[in-house]
Every structure is written in structure tokens, then in C-alpha cells.
Symmetry: C2
Subunit: 338 residues, 2 copies
């Protein structure tokens, strides 16, 4: 499919599936503050989606400051009119990071999208600021937004509604609380009806971090990397066969040939080429040490086998010596786990 | 991938996702009785999975007789020893249909698989009898069986266990109550660990009917057709990239490049070639009548356009006549739905 190259100057997007850890490791929020500039960060905090305005502001203000953010400015329009307020627009215009909280994404789109404040968020992204959001604040980032809908694994006609989002993630629809609220069905319904969209489902306490990276030929790609406890699920419906244009009422939909990617922390997916980015195998330090020892043993075994032909007596002496020192050695060919 | 041709003589398999309708349309159970031979059917009813033995026998006995089955014989071994009982083996040996109820599939495999009774079920299938089962009775039909596990959309290491099933559906693992109990994750975990298996998830009140059909070159194929209210979900992991061999404890799994097919009633999937079977578009009679009328109107419009050039006066007269008869006609180019 035709894909335009992303702009090199755009900032990272952090698409968080809701319920990100706020008390323990805070991996995702720490990454947001750090990407926003740490002590130099000026974070515009947009709690508009939430019905708990002040409390939400207090929580994230405390969190971001605790994690070392230089400055946190609440930006809380409660109407489209307030989303024209030059002070609020200026706060976003000067931000190094913009964070949108959870709540009702239709409230967020109703108040912000297509206003000077909405435009300021898009411009912040384009000039290189970090834009992040959780739950409703995740949904709003895609061009097409899940407005609301029901749970369930099987896609059914009319189980969900689409509205327009900010469009920071283009040609995509983002869903959140994906595992926890069983949203396979509704995201599949959307891509079955709109196969030009990539479906992106983000679990709770999980973040799709989207940045522009250059390949070996210096061509920029949009790459999605996964951070946090859960997974990011991607539906690529480019080759889908579906009956979405003729399925009646609430009947189950045909959605055949969808390419599925479930990506846990550490995995990366190239949104520009729609392919998995190969990762070096993650080996934990303990395993690495064990592996190195097993490799040494194997090399010694090879030498012992060669030596046995040359001088059996010398080998017997060496083996007796080694056994005394380190005890009977398990066969290294069996490896550290068998 | 190399696939062996299925045997032409094997009987249909009915893999039912649990909670099949027993009171209203009974589409699935009706199909089972009819495929078993209707008035000539001799159905061996195996309620071994259930802890409610007698009650389950009474329900299905009443159902199958109500739906016209000639004979229903309960076959209820409660131990491996009883699964050697020649009377029970004979009942299955003479059956035109075998039905296994829901319950605990590990109980079913523990008591039946690898006994003369288990062998008799496989032989019944091979000689052309219908073998059907719901819930646990569905799981047991695949070569690899989900023993138990937890729900959730995201695949995690160790979220489920595999045991050996009857192997009527080869190189596959079947899960049931798929939509209702949110079993995407556990079925994905299994195919991530065993990418030679096809994952088949069947919703409640839904049946995967598997039969051998010949293609145009008389080559037999195993074809799965969907009956009932929900969908059958298929994971084809042939090209999967996964970290299942190295993921720790209960961490989320990488499962990238899985081909996903969600198939509602009426859809068909070729298990031999692993492709969707193209279906003629299902048009309901009312739509068909409307479409035929629109086609007539379109042809008349084309004639009117041609006639207008030849004789504008004649056209005006005809249009005036038509309008009087049937009133103003909406533009047929807009179609019946717009």
C-alpha cells in the first residue's frame, strides 16, 4: 500500500492503554517525563476527558514532579469556547510534553478537536514535543477514534462507533484497556469496515511508544515500541476478506485474512512498512553467564576428545585434576536447561 | 506446509462451542440428527465429561428424539476400565452418530482416549458416522486439547495447558466458549508454542462442521463450514515470529504474523489449503426483489435517454403515463439503499 514517509522532526507519541502504574516502577510515566526533558520539561496536562478534573490534575502533577519534571501546567478547557483561550493555547505552544488523561474520549474530541488548542497539540507533535495520553488520551491520538462500544471477542456489526481523533497516528484506530475489557471484537469490526486503517489495541499499564527512526538508507520510518506490563495488539487488514458492507443489524462479521501481531514489552513494529522489527534476543545476565560457562566446557570437551586420541594418559590425569577441583561436571552438551 | 489428503470415507465432524440452542431453532442439534440419519439414526450419547450424568442423558435423549432421531443409546463409562466394556464399544460401533456432551474435557480424555471405546469413536468417524460434541466434547476432537486455563485477550506464557485429544481434527487445537469466555489469549499462547497447529476457537451456539469435499480435480479437501449464532475464529501461525521458547514465567508472549480468520455462519474455510472458501454473496429474497426492480428501472431509464434524442414528444407522453400510474419514481441510480 502507498505510504508517505513520516516527518523527521515530529516528536514521540506515547499511547498508553490506561491504568499505567503510578505507585511502583512507574516505567511508562518515567519514560514520558524523561522524553519531555526531565528537569527541563514543561508539561501541559490536559484532564479534559475526566469528570474528576482537580483530583486528576493533583495526581499527575504530583507524579510528574516526583519523577523530576521541571514544570507542570494544567490545561483544562471545559468547552470549545475555552479551547480558544490564548493562555491555554500558549501553554501547549510552549510545552515540551503534552499529556492527556483518561476519561471520556468523546468529551475530549468534542471540546478539543478542530479548535486552536487541538491544533496546538498537533503542532507540538510536529515541532518535536512528546505527546502522550492514557485511555481516552490514547484513543484521541489516532485519526479514527473508537467513540464507545461493547466488549467481546467476536466482531459484530454495529458493536462500536467511530469518531474523528487528533490524527497524530495516521490511518489507524487505537483502542485501550484491550486485554482487560476484551476489545478484540470491536477493533476487528472497525478494521473490517475500514480496511485502510491499522487497528492498534493497547493493554493496561502498557505503552506504544511511536518515534521516527531512520533506516540504513536514512529513510525515516515510524516505529512502534512496546513498554510496560502487557501487550500491544495490531490488526493489519490490508488483505482482509469481509462481509462488512452487507452484514445485517448485529450479526457476526466475516473478517478473514487479517494479519495479527501481539507485541509484548521490548518488541518493535515498523508502522511504515507494517512489519515486525527483528530484535536481538534478550538474554538475562544470569543466563548469559551460564551460557558462557557452558561454551567454555564445550570447547574443553572438544579439546579433550582430540587429546584422547593423542595421549590418553595425559587426558586421564587432567580429568582427575578437574574433577577434584569442581566435582563431577554435567555433560555440557545437555546445556544449562534441559 | 505439507498436508496429507483427507480420507474420502470419513464422516462429518461437528465441533460445537457450548451452550447450543436447545429450546428454539435448535439449528445445530437439528443438523446433527439429520446428518446422523434422522429416523434411521442410532446415536451413541457420551455424557462422560459431565458431572450431571443422568440429567444430561435425559436432556439430550429428549432433544434428539424430539428432533426425529430413531434411537439414542447412552454410553457412559466412568473409568478407563468401563471404557473397555464390549457393550459400550458395540453401541459406538453400531452408531450412525456419536455425541459427546460438555463438562470437563480432561475427564473425557482421561477415561476414553486410548481405550477400546476411544478407538471405536475414531473408527466411527473413519467409517463415515457423524461425530459431534459440545464444549468439552468439542475440545476432545482435536489432536491437541486445551486441558484448562485462564481467560484474557493477551497471550501469556503458561496461561493454559495442553493434553492429548482424540485426534479427529488433526494438527489442530480447538477451544470453545471462545467469545463468551475471552479465550483469544490462551489459544494464541498454544499456537505460539506449537506453530504447526492450527488454532480453532468456536463461540457458543456455534458449530464448525467439518466435512470432506472434492475440488474440481476430485482432490479431497477438509472443509470447515460455520453454523449457528456466533463465529469460528482461526489462527494460522505458519509464519509466526514468537519468543515462546524463551519467555519467562507468566510474561506476555510475542506472536507476530499470525493469520487471523473470523468466520460467521455461512462462511467456509478449507483446512487442507488453509484458505477461505469464496462464497456467493448471500442476498435475502426481499433485497433480491428490490434489486430486480431497480434493474428494470435502470434499463427503462437507459431506453428513455435514448428515446429522448429520437422523439422528445413520445418520451414526455410515456413519462406522464408512468407517473400517473406509480407516482414519482426515485432515481434508480441511487439504488434501494443510499
Amino acid at each position: 500500500m502507498p505510504l508517505t514517509s513520516p516527518d523527521r522532526t515530529t516528536g514521540p507519541l506515547m499511547v498508553i492503554g490506561g491504568a499505567e502504574d503510578k505507585l511502583r516502577k512507574r516505567t511508562i510515566l518515567k519514560e514520558f517525563v524523561s522524553a519531555s526533558g526531565g528537569a527541563d520539561a514543561r508539561i501541559a496536562l490536559i484532564p479534559t476527558a475526566s469528570s474528576l478534573g482537580d483530583e486528576v490534575v493533583e495526581v499527575y502533577d504530583a507524579l510528574f514532579r516526583r519523577l523530576g519534571a521541571g514544570e507542570v501546567v494544567p490545561v483544562r478547557p471545559q468547552s470549545r469556547e475555552e479551547a480558544h483561550d490564548p493562555d491555554l493555547v500558549k501553554a501547549v505552544g510552549e510545552a515540551t510534553g503534552v499529556f492527556m488523561t483518561g476519561g471520556n474520549q468523546l468529551k475530549l474530541s468534542a471540546i478539543i478537536c478542530g479548535t486552536p488548542l487541538g491544533d496546538a497539540i498537533v503542532e507540538a507533535h510536529e515541532r518535536g514535543a512528546v505527546v502522550g495520553g492514557t485511555s481516552a488520551g490514547a484513543s484521541i491520538q489516532s485519526s479514527h477514534m473508537v467513540a464507545f462500544g461493547v466488549g467481546g471477542a467476536t466482531p459484530k456489526q454495529r458493536m462500536t462507533q467511530v469518531a474523528a481523533g487528533l490524527g497524530l497516528v495516521k490511518s489507524a484506530v487505537i483502542d485501550q484497556h484491550f486485554d482487560q475489557r476484551n476489545r478484540y471484537g470491536r477493533l476487528l469490526m472497525i478494521v473490517a469496515q475500514s480496511p485502510q486503517l491499522l487497528g492498534i489495541g493497547v493493554d493496561e499499564d502498557t505503552c506504544a511508544l511511536i518515534t521516527v527512526e531512520e533506516d540504513a538508507d536514512e529513510v525515516p520510518h515510524e516505529v512502534l515500541r512496546v513498554i510496560g506490563r502487557g501487550s500491544v495488539t495490531i490488526f493489519d487488514p490490508a488483505s482482509i476478506v469481509s462481509n462488512a458492507h452487507e452484514a445485517k443489524r448485529s450479526s457476526p462479521l466475516l473478517a478473514s485474512g487479517v494479519l495479527l501481531h501481539v507485541l509484548p514489552a521490548g518488541a518493535a513494529y515498523d508502522l511504515t512498512t507494517r512489519t515486525l522489527v527483528p530484535q536481538p534476543a534478550a538474554i538475562d545476565p544470569e543466563d548469559a553467564a551460564e551460557l558462557a560457562e557452558a561454551q567454555r566446557d564445550m570447547r574443553q570437551l572438544a579439546r579433550d576428545i582430540a587429546a584422547a586420541d593423542a595421549s590418553p594418559a595425559a587426558l586421564r590425569r587432567r580429568l582427575a585434576r578437574t574433577r577434584t577441583k569442581i566435582g563431577p561436571n554435567p555433560d555440557p552438551l545437555e546445556g544449562p536447561v534441559s
